[in-house]
């Protein structure tokens, strides 16, 4: 694409303070050549005018700083969650609010299966259902001649039918923790935790390890991103082999692939030299749309699972403090090692104790191995307040806050996990910005659906499912939220020189919107239609 194309739009929101809005953007060689009016690129030579987007509003393509490509693997199965969800092909799957509806959808899916195919469903979330608990008897009523497996949204539970129980030999004599039982001692179909679920998963072929980097799934992930206006997305905590990395590189290199992928890999190495060598091998497959280079660390668990490490006064129900995935000593050692190796870290911390330990570790690492541009990112960081944000600011550390939690789990956090005082200051976007931090906000897809406009809506309105405003003082403005899902997220990925705004020199990655997000009522932000995306100046990604 060597010619110059000038796209006309009803409005262009650039995220460039030098020219906040415009009506035209000129593109050459996949990059923004000029921004302004219809004549903006005339000094560069002959231009071709493209009016296909003339009725739309353009913004920089959204950047999802915390998502997982495994989302697409789940769409091989039937969605039975409480919330509405859209599949990669754009088909809406209405949320199911009672067990009868779940069973009806399962029956419908069973009819369409091949003779020996198991029936697998995902996203089930009983905490929102008031009806009776799902059991093997319910699932036997769907079909008795093949295994039926319903995965719960937490990832820690499943419910299966009698055929699945028989396939793994679970019965009243089984001495296995995690098999839930009826009063008569027979398994009721519910299985808790991986150890008890794994034999079932093994027999129905559920192995996601390499699947999400195969072509068909990579393509499906691209469709999900395009539909939500995302042109750069992370695959956080990707465990990749060199072969997997090469497959991912091939699947994303095509010009029409609609999204740049930024994986953050988990590493098992324990010396700076080994990690450097691993990252150098991975970086070798990089291209414009694939950016290996960062790593991901897991420190604690989740707040709603009571496995996050939190400070005094702990969980309101008196639950024991959560669990470390890495002990603090190892967090310190790993942070020092990565800092020494010069590798950026995305560090999962949900609870405030975990965030504190990580900041301690990053502070020590910064003294031992000075690196002003490290820009490590605390991911989720849901319980950080002004004091911790100030420490992050001193260290040049960024945060990516889990704004979607406010709507999806805010009521639960107030009632069950950490109480209303701390729930009101969760995912404290206002405090993070006031501390001067680089801040992104995220969906953690597939934990919640990808949709930066929804995520921005959460940060702006802080409404919960029950309709309460959770912590009005931590709301941010619409422009601040739009910055967080573009430039803010781009900065957490160290890509702000390439993406995140529409200005000369940047990549021509745009989201095409039906309306102006700055002009509508902020409570409508989540409903603003995304019409498509433009990547490297290609408009063929329209929905």
């Amino acid at each position: 694409m060597s010619g110059i194309t000038v796209f006309q739009a009803a409005k262009i929101i650039t995220m460039d303070p030098n020219r906040p809005t415009a009506t035209h953007v000129a593109v050459r060689d996949g990059h923004v050549l000029a921004v302004g009016d219809a004549a903006c690129a005339d000094q560069w030579g002959r231009v071709r005018h493209d009016n296909r987007l003339a009725e739309t509003v353009l913004m920089p393509g959204f950047v999802e700083g915390h998502s997982h490509m495994s989302e697409t693997c789940f769409w091989d199965y039937t969605y039975v969650g409480f919330h509405d969800r859209v599949d990669p092909d754009g088909q809406p799957w209405p949320g199911l609010t009672e067990i009868g509806a779940v069973l009806a959808r399962l029956k419908d899916a069973a009819v369409r299966l091949g003779p020996d195919e198991p029936l697998i469903a995902w996203g089930f979330d009983p905490i929102f259902l008031s009806s009776a608990r799902l059991t093997r008897d319910h699932l036997d009523s769907v079909t008795a001649d093949r295994p039926v497996v319903v995965l719960f949204s937490s990832g820690h539970l499943m419910c299966v039918n009698s055929a699945a129980l028989a396939a793994v030999g679970y019965d009243r004599a089984s001495n296995v923790e995690g098999i839930q039982r009826r009063p008569d001692g027979e398994p009721n179909g519910e299985l808790h935790e991986m150890a008890a679920m794994f034999p079932v998963m093994r027999r129905i072929g559920m192995d996601f390890r390499t699947r999400s980097h195969q072509r068909a799934y990579v393509d499906a992930f691209g469709r999900i991103c395009r539909r939500s206006g995302v042109t750069t997305a992370t695959d956080l905590f990707a465990m990749v082999t060199q072969e997997g990395a090469e497959a991912l590189a091939q699947a994303t290199v095509r010009p029409e692939y609609p999204v740049r992928i930024v994986p953050a890999v988990s590493t098992l190495h324990s010396t700076p030299e080994e990690v450097r060598a691993q990252m150098a091998d991975l970086r070798r497959v990089n291209h414009d749309k694939l950016r290996f280079g960062a790593v991901k660390l897991m420190t604690d668990g989740s707040i709603q699972g009571f496995s996050a490490r939190i400070l005094w006064p702990g969980y309101v129900g008196g639950q024991p403090n959560g669990i470390w995935n890495m002990p603090p000593a190892q967090i310190h050692a790993t942070c020092a090692m990565m800092q020494q190796a010069g590798i950026q870290m995305h560090i999962h911390t949900n609870g405030d104790e975990a965030s504190t330990v990580v900041l301690d570790a990053l502070s020590a690492a910064a003294r031992a191995h000075p690196w002003p541009g490290a820009r490590h990112v605390l991911q989720h960081a849901q319980m950080m307040g002004p004091a911790l944000f100030a420490r992050a600011a001193e260290l040049g550390v960024c945060v990516n806050l889990f704004a979607n939690h406010i709507w999806y789990f805010g009521d639960q956090h107030a009632a069950l996990t950490i109480g209303p005082d701390r729930a009101a200051r969760m995912d404290a976007c206002r405090a993070a910005l006031d501390a001067g931090l680089t801040m992104a906000i995220h969906s953690d897809a597939p934990v919640t659906p990808m949709g930066p406009l929804f995520t921005a809506w959460c940060a702006v309105n802080r409404l919960t499912m029950s309709g309460r405003t959770l912590g009005a003082a931590q709301r941010i403005t619409v422009p601040e939220a739009l910055y967080a899902i573009t430039m803010g997220a781009a900065r957490t990925l160290k890509l702000e020189a390439e993406i995140g705004s529409i200005e000369t020199g940047k990549r021509a990655d745009f989201v095409v919107l039906a309306e102006d997000p700055l002009a509508i009522d902020p409570v409508r932000l989540k409903d603003l239609p995304v019409l498509g995306t433009v990547i490297d100046g290609h408009v063929d990604a329209m929905i």
Partner: protein, 295 residues
């Protein structure tokens, strides 16, 4: 003939407790079993070049038939890979990461029909465990590892396990406490193997194990077998084997410390065959024989 079940033993214990030392020892011992070992940190495994057949990115193959590899992205799926290996290994040993609850892993061996429960051995560093167990941040997880153990292997206890430590561990767990420095070989503890240790003493003069093996025509119901195993002498570390049943295929038995696991045998059990081991200092072969033969 079905494939034999794959026994799984999990090694737990905090960073630096001595898990890797134990694994290095096991890989070198002459136990005659093809053990697949999954570790966290490949770099720490130290195998002499003359024992290596091959070593690539994440797998080492040894001349004695053992294989050592990293577990990769998903521990449970890696267990599936181990089960799918042909020939299937004789034993799977997984090193739990320093803070992990070993029971979360070992439970899979009870759940999976193709696996057998080979127990949880937690390595306890006699010098540092007390302080770690009292640590405000990780103490609960450290104590939880001991509570989950079937065998407690005490490391760095030069001159014997301190009584205060022994008492603290005993309050958390009924598992036998074994000073690894006193062990002639670690394979019998971790694998429950019998052949190499029958009447064998090591050269260093350490106390050896007592091995007992039995073959007979008795047939037992599951309930009778469970009752029998529950009365086994406390000092026995391990019992394993096949027991004939009056009206079914038979039973596969794995006893590790206080854990008793009985699964239906995969093939018809013609004769009952059992092996057991315990420390020579605490039990005599005749005691084991008496326990089994007494009605």
């Amino acid at each position: 003939m079905s494939l034999p079940r794959l026994p799984l033993t999990v090694i737990g214990g905090y960073l630096g407790a001595g898990k890797t030392t134990l694994i290095n020892r096991l890989l070198r011992e002459d136990h005659g079993q093809r053990v697949l070992v999954m570790v966290n940190d490949f770099g720490a495994i130290n195998i002499d070049a003359d024992l290596l057949v091959s070593a690539d990115g994440d797998t080492m193959t040894l001349t004695n038939g053992c294989v050592c590899c990293t577990m990769g992205a998903d521990l449970f799926m890696a267990m599936g890979d181990a089960l799918d290996r042909r020939p299937r290994p004789d034993h799977l040993l997984i090193e739990a990461s320093g803070i992990a609850d070993p029971a979360r892993i070992a439970t899979a061996a009870r759940a999976e029909p193709d696996m057998a429960y080979g127990g949880i051995a937690v390595v306890v560093d006699a010098l540092h465990w007390g302080a770690l167990a009292d640590d405000a941040q990780i103490g609960a997880q450290i104590r939880g590892q001991v509570a989950a153990a079937d065998l407690l292997l005490i490391s760095k206890a030069e001159g014997g396990v301190p009584p205060a430590l022994a008492a603290r561990l005993a309050a958390l767990s009924a598992a036998p406490q074994i000073d690894v420095a006193d062990c002639a070989a670690v394979a019998p503890l971790l694998l429950g193997g019998l052949a190499p240790l029958q009447g064998k003493r090591d050269g260093g003069g350490h106390p050896a194990y007592v091995g007992w093996s039995h073959e007979g025509d008795e047939a037992m119901t599951r309930a009778a077998l469970a009752a029998k195993l529950a009365q086994a002498p406390q000092a026995l570390y391990r019992i394993k084997g096949l027991v004939a049943a009056p009206d079914s295929t038979g039973w596969e038995v794995q006893v590790v410390g206080r854990s008793i696991e009985i699964k239906p045998a995969l093939d018809r059990v013609a004769r009952t065959r059992l092996v057991a081991i315990g420390p020579q200092s605490a039990i005599a072969r005749a005691q084991i024989a008496d326990w089994w033969s007494q009605g």
